[in-house]
């Protein structure tokens, strides 16, 4: 664990690559206002992998879309600040944003075919990105493309360059997409459920590639998943999202070993793992119910209807955010009721 610690402290000294502060996003559909994100704070340093975890509909992809300014169409309101390497992204025009996307901020997704064009070979697509963003030509671009594929541990890069996406297996396609995403040495990589559709063996390889992008190339990474088991393997720090809010955040080691929010605890208990030999088959701890619709207004904690330790305060008033000195933050009444050592922010 020491390596993770020294890395986080080392990185913390430098200015972060991405700093999201008090971000609120509301979508307007027809006449209806849909509040999607509430008071989201997130910081990513160079070489750091930040896990964003939560169930379907908790707002993980929307947070990523806010960073790239690719929120779904229609009118929307966005409040708060998204600072990327000293630049405020919330006030950038679409044209200015296009300059960041794919170059300084790269994205990989669950379904590689959303990024790959089926009618061009991997080589054409990779070299095209390298030509436009890095202004390399012909032989140089080709050499760079080969190097990028070697980077993602493709054994026969020449063969891969000539292949069409449909000729590749799911895992190989995912690698091709990662090679394209990393080809412009992005400062920030957003990985939205990049392994959810894959077999465990291939998943392990892809996780390894993401880790290398952070360790070797020094990219900051936002890694999105609904599976804390996956997040646990690659992330330095973790933010747990629920219904548009970050309910707990901290270093990976702390959040995973001493989860404090009831939702984090429940997510951990839901992962099927090893039961010790001879032990009874344990009931998996399912979380009853589901994430509330963002349109649903709630006075209290948004997790209260599903929470096993929900008390009186919980349904009456939104819990305050508890920020401890070590960067751990928890948004839960139980924390507020018990804790007098921590600083309470609203």
């Amino acid at each position: 664990m020491t390596s993770t610690d020294s890395k986080t402290t080392g990185a913390a000294a430098a200015a972060p690559i991405l700093q999201i502060k008090d971000l609120n996003v509301t979508l307007r559909k027809e006449q209806e206002l849909i509040p999607i994100l509430h008071h989201v704070n997130l910081t990513v340093h160079a070489g750091e992998i930040v896990g964003l975890v939560g169930e379907s509909g908790s707002g993980k992809s929307m947070t990523a879309s806010a960073v790239t300014q690719l929120l779904p169409g229609g009118s929307k309101s966005l409040q708060g600040s998204i600072n990327f390497c000293g630049e405020e992204l919330t006030t950038k025009s679409e044209k200015e944003m296009a300059h960041y996307r794919g170059k300084e901020i790269a994205m990989i997704f669950q379904e590689p075919m959303t990024c790959l064009n089926p009618v061009f070979t991997v080589g054409q697509q990779l070299e095209d990105v390298i030509c436009t963003h890095q202004h390399l030509q012909g032989g140089e671009a080709h050499a760079r493309a080969i190097a990028m594929l070697e980077n993602v541990h493709i054994k026969e890069p020449e063969k891969m360059l000539k292949a069409y996406p449909y000729e590749l297996s799911g895992g190989m396609r995912q690698r091709a997409m990662i090679a394209i995403a990393l080809s412009c040495s992005p400062k920030l990589l957003i990985a939205d459920e990049p392994t959810t559709a894959l077999d465990v063996t291939i998943q392990a390889q892809i996780l390894g590639l993401v880790k290398e992008a952070a360790d070797k190339a020094g990219a900051g990474v936002i890694f999105i998943s609904h599976d804390l088991g996956v997040i646990a393997q690659v992330c330095d720090s973790i933010a747990v999202m629920y219904s548009g809010e970050i309910v707990e955040a901290g270093t990976a080691v702390e959040v995973l070993t001493t989860p404090r929010h009831p939702y984090t605890k429940a997510l951990l208990a839901a992962i099927p793992g090893f039961t010790p030999k001879g032990a009874e088959r344990l009931e998996l701890c399912a979380i009853p119910g589901m994430v509330p619709d963002p349109r649903e207004h709630m006075d209290g904690c948004r997790f209260a209807p599903r929470c096993s330790v929900c008390g009186e305060n919980c349904t009456a008033k939104h819990p305050p955010l508890h920020v401890a000195g070590d960067g751990r933050s928890v948004c839960c009444w139980k924390e507020a009721e018990a804790g007098d050592t921590a600083i309470t922010a609203s």
Partner: protein, 320 residues
């Protein structure tokens, strides 16, 4: 040992594909599978994408015809039954698929979805059917108010409950679950897995549970079969498979399982475009196997008993 409820004998499936040049290519999706499933047992089948798990399921419910081999259901050979004689089998063996979004017809209400198999397979009156589907919905943890709603109005986990209820309408003995939770969030997956364990006890069902995640399979099944390239490479009590795996492929699967508190292994340069192509000669796993030897390249290892109840197809693993 008592007569198995389901017996597969040397089951083979070869798909024939016409290539663009008019030539034929063959995919040997299932290869020489022999397996006994006892009444009340939950058998897990695990293996990576394309190893033939779903094909094996389609063969058992006879959505596909066998290329070779026999299927014996409760003592009766059903291998060559004609379509019209398959009705008892269809009633006896039901299947739940992975994708709760595409496996339920979007234009039918939940009540219509649930009564459809009853209309085909039974002679129940309308009132009887209504009572039955209401009870079924309750059994899977949903209430009768859902009956006149459409599938798109439900979440993934709820749709999977509806799929399970539909599979149970004909009171099957065997339920095949083909990746029933792979499309679901971990939290919802836990709900569905708990429901399945619950139903198995209440209804004394026999399960064939298919997944690519060993941890999930272990949670449901008593015995686990590990498939690679159409063959069973290891078969034994789920606990043994998880904690003391023998086959190098099973070990690879377990090493790759994500878990809290487990560190990622450093990457090796293993990937190439042919890594997963099974060999026609010798062991199907030889290209990826750390224990590969000359014999592995020339002779196919048979599935043989390694210790009581634990079977293995590998030349490299020997008793020490």
């Amino acid at each position: 040992m008592t007569l198995p409820l389901l017996r597969l004998e040397n089951v083979d499936k070869v798909f024939v594909k016409k290539t663009m040049m008019g030539k034929k290519s063959y995919i040997h999706a299932v290869r020489g599978i022999t397996l006994d499933i006892q009444r009340g047992e939950a058998l897990g089948i695990v293996g990576e994408s394309g190893c033939g798990k779903s094909t094996l399921a389609s063969l058992i419910i006879r959505l596909e015809t066998l290329t070779r081999g026999k299927i014996i259901l409760d003592g009766t050979d059903v291998t060559s039954l004609k379509e019209k004689d398959l009705r008892p089998l269809r009633r006896f063996v039901q299947i739940v698929f992975q994708d709760p979004y595409s496996s339920l017809s979007p234009r039918m209400t939940v009540e219509e979805i649930l009564t459809e198999p009853l209309k085909i397979m039974t002679k129940l009156s309308k009132a009887e059917m209504h009572a039955k589907v209401t009870a079924l919905l309750e059994l899977v943890g949903m209430n009768a108010s859902c009956l006149d709603r459409y599938p798109h109005e439900f979440s993934g986990g709820q749709r999977q409950r509806i799929s399970i209820a539909r599979a149970l309408t004909t009171e099957p003995e065997i339920l095949i679950l083909d990746e029933p939770t792979s499309a679901l969030d971990v939290s919802v997956q836990a709900q569905v897995l708990n429901l399945l364990n619950d139903l198995r006890q209440k209804l004394h069902l026999t399960y064939i549970f298919i997944s690519h995640n060993l941890a999930v399979v272990k949670y449901i099944s008593d015995r686990t079969a590990v498939m690679y390239a159409g063959q069973i490479v290891e078969l034994g009590p789920s606990e043994k498979i998880m904690l003391e795996p023998l086959h190098p492929y099973t070990r690879e699967l377990i090493a790759a399982l994500p878990a809290v508190g487990k560190k990622l292994k450093p990457l090796t340069k293993a990937a190439d475009m042919t890594e997963n192509v099974a060999q026609e000669r010798g062991c199907p796993y030889q290209n990826r196997c750390p224990l590969v030897d000359l014999r592995c390249k020339s002779e196919r290892p048979p599935l043989a008993q390694f210790e009581p109840g634990h079977f293995l197809a590998c030349w490299g693993v020997t008793k020490s």
